[in-house]
Structures are given as C-alpha cells and as structure tokens.
C-alpha cells in the first residue's frame, strides 16, 4: 500500500519545494524517525552531526540578510523550512527546536547587535559553530516578562549584571559550542504602572566571568535539547554588547518572541502532518473485527477533524508569515511616519499568538488521538507518537510563551485594552 501523503505543495514557490526536498533527502540519510526517537530517549548532548547538517543545508537563520552571512530569506520561506523540520523531527527538539531557537532569536539579536557580535557569534552560529539563545525566564516567573528582577548597573564603559535565569533552552549546547544569550535586565527603577520600562537587553557570552551555568533539568520531552539556567554574579559586559537602545529591551523581546513563535507554529504544522500520515498508514492496514481501523467512524471522524484543523492551521501560519514579511518590508515607513502601513505590530502579535496557542496544542492533541487509535503500539516508542506528544507539550506549557499568555494577547487585541485582566 502506498504511503499516505497529506501535503500539497502546489502553492509553494519552486525554491520552497526544493527546500523541502533537500530536507527530506538529508533526513532520509541522516535522521530517520528511528533516530529521532532514539536521540530523544538518550537525551543530550545534542548530536553535533545534526547541527552540522542543519548548518550545511543553510537552515539556520535564513532570514538574516545575505550581506550579514544569512540567506536573505523571507519569513514565508523560513516557515516552509520550519514546517519540514517539524515533519522530519516530530520530537520538535533536535532539528526543529534547534532551528527555531537559533533563527527566531538569532535573527532578532542580529538586528540589534553591533558588528563585533555579528562577526563573533551570529555568523559562526549560522555556520553551526556557535549557539545563541534567549534567557528571559527567572525563578520568580517567565510569563510575566516585565516582572523580572535581574539588574544591570553602569560602571564606566561596562555594565555589571546580576540575577538568575532559569528554564533556558540550550545552555549545555551553548557551553559546549561556545556562544551566548540575549539577557534582559533592569537598568532603571521599576515603574509600578509600567514595569516593562527600563528593561535593557544585552548579549552575554556564556564564557563571561561570573556566568554560572546550572545543571540541566530532566524534562518530559525534547530530550536532545538541554534546558537549564545560569546565575549571573557581577558579570561585566561592555557597553557595545547592549542590544539596541537602553530601556527598550521589552519591545525587542516581544519582537524576538514573535519570530520564534512563528517558527514553532510552522514546525507544529509539520509535526501534526507527520503524525496524521503515520497514523493513517497504520489505521488503513490494521484490522480488528474483520475491518481496517480506518473504516470505523469512531476513528476516521476524529482523524478528519484533526486534518481539517491541520489545513486551517497551515493557512494561518502562511498568513502570519506574510504579515511578518510585510512588517519588515514596511519598517522604514513605520519609522518615518510613526504609523504602520498595513499591520500594527500588536495586530501581528495577535495572529502570532493565535498560531502559537493553536498549533502546538493541535500537534499534542493529534499525537494523543493517534496513541488512542493505535492502542498499545501507539503508546510504545516503536512509533513516533509518544515522542511527539512529549516534545510538543513543551510548547503548550511554556516554551516561547505559555498558552494563557497567548490568550491574553488575543483578548487584548479583540476585546480591547479595557479588559486586560491584570490591570
């Protein structure tokens, strides 16, 4: 029986079709599903050959301009890459998650970094030789981005950073490969009615004196990509390592989240598509009571419902990527006139929150369904479903923004600011 295919690439550009083909060919040789499952069981360290493969294929930070070492891809291009990485890596950690962290945040760091950071960290990260990431969450919380307590004090031409960051993706990888993090600290007094003000972003190399990486957590999923944290004790960072302007860190951080969340939404489309295809192959073959499982409405109806949600999500992700392309294309207009030409950033953030909320949940729920359809086989690591379920759960509970935070953003943009619950 021919394998079930649920993708339709006819609306993609010729180049985008080739991105997908190259990723598939590479995965077939180097990263088949059996290895995805095994790596997630074995846990970190993150396999170096995968980093090298992603870099060699040019999948990391494709949206960085060509003159700065990237490929000058649009977000509409990069989501095709993200979706296909989710498809070949439904654990959403090893290939897809790594690319999302590096691209979402690396691209945004690159926008606000000086040439030295670009040369020493961004370009090597694009080549797979260094790791760059984001460190916002603190022990007192992560969703309340403006509620952080880490501080930065100016001392001559340096800043002295103190505080602690926790639940940070890739600290082990960053230690091993070299690299650094986008770190937010408070550089002025906390204003109770506007706690997001006076937040400043810095690029902090992981090997800076005073940065103390912590032991990794033992996570439910995303086994290959480490999660831990680091303490900053009198970490001295040169003035030039400030990202953008002093006091504007909150706004840049929201932009970084926007970029990373688009990629997570797209990867989750790929995860869902792969789960449905793998499940379809099984339910068409496996017979109970003399009929294939796929003939039972109790199975084919929920299958169809998930498929509808998948295609709706795919369209949403493509729409959002186009909005983000317009945002950057029209940036000069916004700077000149103070008004958005097409979409306000907060409107785009609403759409991004919709996909960040919806698609990882869809992938998780589809994996859950598939395990029910397959029964004991689906629950075992012979199949991809439990690995995918544990992996995408990470993006439901918090990675790149918790589920309820996405709902707050959507409510703010639909019901209005008067109905923000925390004000």
């Amino acid at each position: 029986m021919a394998r079930t295919k649920l993708s339709d690439d006819r609306d993609l550009t010729e180049e985008q079709k080739l991105f997908k083909e190259s990723i598939n060919d590479w995965a077939e040789r180097n990263f088949p599903l059996e290895r995805v499952i095994r790596i997630n069981r074995e846990g970190h360290p993150f396999p170096q050959d995968i980093v090298e493969g992603l870099a060699e294929l040019g999948l990391i930070m494709g949206t960085v301009p060509e003159e700065q070492g990237g490929m000058g891809l649009t977000w509409s291009d990069q989501i095709v890459i993200a979706e296909q990485l989710g498809y070949i890596d439904p654990s959403i950690a090893t290939a897809a998650g790594f690319m999302a962290v590096e691209t979402g945040w690396g691209f945004t760091i690159n926008r606000y970094a000086n040439e030295e950071i670009r040369e020493r960290y961004i370009k090597p990260a694009i080549q797979g030789d260094k790791f760059v990431g984001i460190a916002t969450t603190e022990p007192k919380g992560g969703s309340d981005v403006a509620g952080f307590e880490s501080t930065g004090e100016k001392d001559g031409d340096e800043w002295v950073l103190n505080g602690e960051k926790t639940f940070i993706s890739g600290v082990e990888e960053c230690r091993r490969m070299g690299g650094g993090y986008w770190v937010n600290v408070r550089t002025g007094p906390k204003i109770p009615e506007a706690p997001h003000k006076n937040m400043t972003a810095f690029f902090v190399p992981i090997d800076t004196d005073g940065v103390q990486p912590q032991e990794p957590y033992d996570d439910a999923g995303r086994g290959s990509l480490s999660t831990s944290g680091f303490i900053m004790e009198d970490v001295r960072i040169p003035d030039e390592y400030m990202l953008g302007e002093e006091g504007k860190g909150f706004y840049y951080t929201m932009e970084g989240f926007d970029n990373a969340r688009i990629l997570i939404g797209a990867s989750s489309v790929g995860v869902t598509r792969r789960i449905l295809e793998e499940a379809a192959d099984y339910i068409k073959e496996r017979e109970t009571f003399g009929r294939p499982l796929a003939k039972y409405e109790g199975i084919q109806f929920p299958f169809v419902e998930r498929y509808i949600e998948l295609e709706a999500s795919d369209l949403m992700v493509k729409k959002v990527a186009k909005m983000q392309d317009q945002r950057y294309d029209e940036e000069g207009w916004l700077e000149r006139t103070g008004k958005a030409k097409t979409y306000k950033p907060t409107e785009i953030a609403k759409w991004i929150s919709m996909i960040k909320y919806k698609v990882p949940h869809l992938a998780k729920d589809t994996a859950d369904d598939a395990m029910h359809w397959l029964g004991a086989a689906g629950y075992s690591s012979e199949y991809i479903f439990e690995t995918a379920w544990r992996g995408v759960m990470s993006y439901c509970v918090g990675a790149e923004g918790g589920a309820n935070i996405q709902k707050l953003v959507i409510a703010r943009e639909t019901l209005g600011k008067d109905y923000i619950p925390y004000k």
């Binding site: 021919a2 394998r3 295919k5 010729e14 180049e15 079709k17 080739l18 991105f19 083909e21 190259s22 060919d25 590479w26 040789r29 060699e56 294929l57 040019g58 999948l59 494709g62 490929m71 000058g72 891809l73 890459i81």
Partner: protein
C-alpha cells in the same frame, strides 16, 4: 568546454500505482522527482567540471510539460549553469525515438557540445534507449553503463570512462563529442543542494524552447514522430511465495536438486 546533461522528470517510483481497469500509470496527485539516473549523470558532470583546469559550462536540458521546470530548477541548484526546457504540445506523446529527435535537435541548436550526459535509463519507462538514440541522431560516439569518467581531453579529442559490464568494469576510450549514459554504482549518494545553492539557482537562466525554436516538420516530433505504440501498461503478476532453504551449501544443493526433480525441471 561544453557539457549538456539530459534529464527527465519522472513520477516518484515509490508512489506509482497502475489503474487496474485501464492499465495506465496513475499520475494525478503523484509527486514528480528528477530521475535518479539523470541526477547521477549531472553529479558526474559537475564532478568532472570541478576536476578540470579549463572552463566548463553545464547546461541541463529536459523535454516535458511546463511542470518539468521543477526538475530543471533542481539541476540548477545542484550545480548546472543554465537550463533549457523543451516544451510544446507538438512534443507530447513521444516515444523514445521522437524524444531523442527532440533532444538531439536541441543539442545541435546549442552547438559545440563536447559531452552529452544522460542517465542510463529513466525509472518510469526503463527503456535505456534515449541516450543511445540521441547519439545516433547526432552521429557521435556513445558509451553506455558509464560508472565513472576518468578524463575528457579536448586536445586529443577523447573521453576515457569506466564502463560497467556483467563481469566487472572496463576502461574505454571514445572520440569526442560523445553521449555517455551514466549508471550509478550501489551506495551512490547525490549531492543535496542547500538553501544557498537553491537561492543562487533562482538567478540562473532557465529558457523554454518550443517547436518553433527547434524547427523541422511537426510529424517528426511527439506522437506523430513515434515509431512505437503503447498498447497497455500493466504490472506483472506476482511471482508467488518462494522457497527459502537455510542449510549448509552441500545440503542446500541437494534439496534444490530434489525440488527441481519433483517439479520436473531436470
């Protein structure tokens, strides 16, 4: 030096199904890919170009419907310098001979081609006829089952290749220009184009040539120019379950003889 690589877009063979009623291949909704033998031929051309001291231009040429552009785009991403799609309703329905007529005319029009690379066969038809027929059209040397190209020397006017035979390999020398039909050896892994290659390919030339560009009479091309007629395409009946003998060689031999005697085969 100028190399032309002939390529074909074929249905992904892992996905092909035959319509049981009509006996024709179901192409609707079946993904198309670059024929693996042609991909090997292109890889050989690029490998040779990289080993040569002189300037080499590689042009990928395909005959097919407009969507065959996808296969040529891939050739450009892998490393071809430019590509030409031969596409016209007049070319439709061509058998191997009419295909070779079309491709041969295109090679002539390009002019001064030193080596024409082709895959040994296409994974959809498996005729292995087009490469040799193009050589016949052009009246130039043909080398088949080529596993490796040792060198192309324009000065002496020769090409030296490693050719696969039933017994192993032979080293063979032929006069230029030549058509070589390439046969990948087991374990061959084609180059995977990366994003940078793919984006660079966007800037390379991909022309479309029609009947008007190639000239001649319409009757020479497509269905009218075909010498053969396909009556039916069908899957051969399954061979049935075989017998597996897992014994030491001498015992296995006895059992095989016993089986053949029982079946009246000896």
């Amino acid at each position: 030096m100028l190399f032309v690589v002939l390529v074909k877009q074929v249905p992904d063979t892992t996905e092909v199904e035959v319509d049981e009623e009509t006996g024709t291949i179901i192409r609707e909704g079946v993904p198309s890919v670059l024929n693996a033998f042609d991909e090997f031929a292109l890889n050989e051309a690029i490998d040779l170009k990289e080993r040569m001291d002189e300037d080499v231009e590689i042009i990928a040429v395909s005959m097919g419907p407009p969507q065959a552009k996808d296969a040529l785009k891939k050739c450009l991403a892998i490393g071809a310098d430019s590509a030409i799609l031969l596409t016209d309703r007049v070319f439709a329905g061509a058998d191997t001979w009419a295909t070779a007529v079309t491709l041969g005319r295109a090679v002539k029009k390009i002019g001064d081609v030193d080596v024409v690379f082709a895959g040994q066969e296409a994974s959809d038809g498996n005729t292995a006829q087009v490469g040799p027929e193009v050589a016949a059209q052009l009246g130039i040397s043909q080398l088949t089952f080529v596993a490796d190209i040792e060198k192309v020397d324009k000065e002496s006017g020769h090409i030296i290749c490693k050719k696969e035979t039933d017994e192993g390999h032979v080293r063979i020398k032929a006069e230029l220009p030549a058509v070589i039909a390439c046969m990948p050896e087991p374990g061959f892994e084609p180059k995977i184009p990366n994003v940078r290659d793919i984006m660079k390919a966007k800037k390379k030339s991909l022309d479309e040539w029609t009947f008007e560009d190639l000239g001649g009479d319409e009757e020479e091309y497509g269905l009218d120019g075909s010498e053969s007629v396909v009556i039916r395409t069908y899957s051969p009946p399954p061979k049935g379950e075989g017998i597996k003998i897992e014994e030491k060689p001498e015992i296995a031999a006895e059992k095989i003889i016993e089986f053949m005697e029982e079946e009246g085969l000896l």
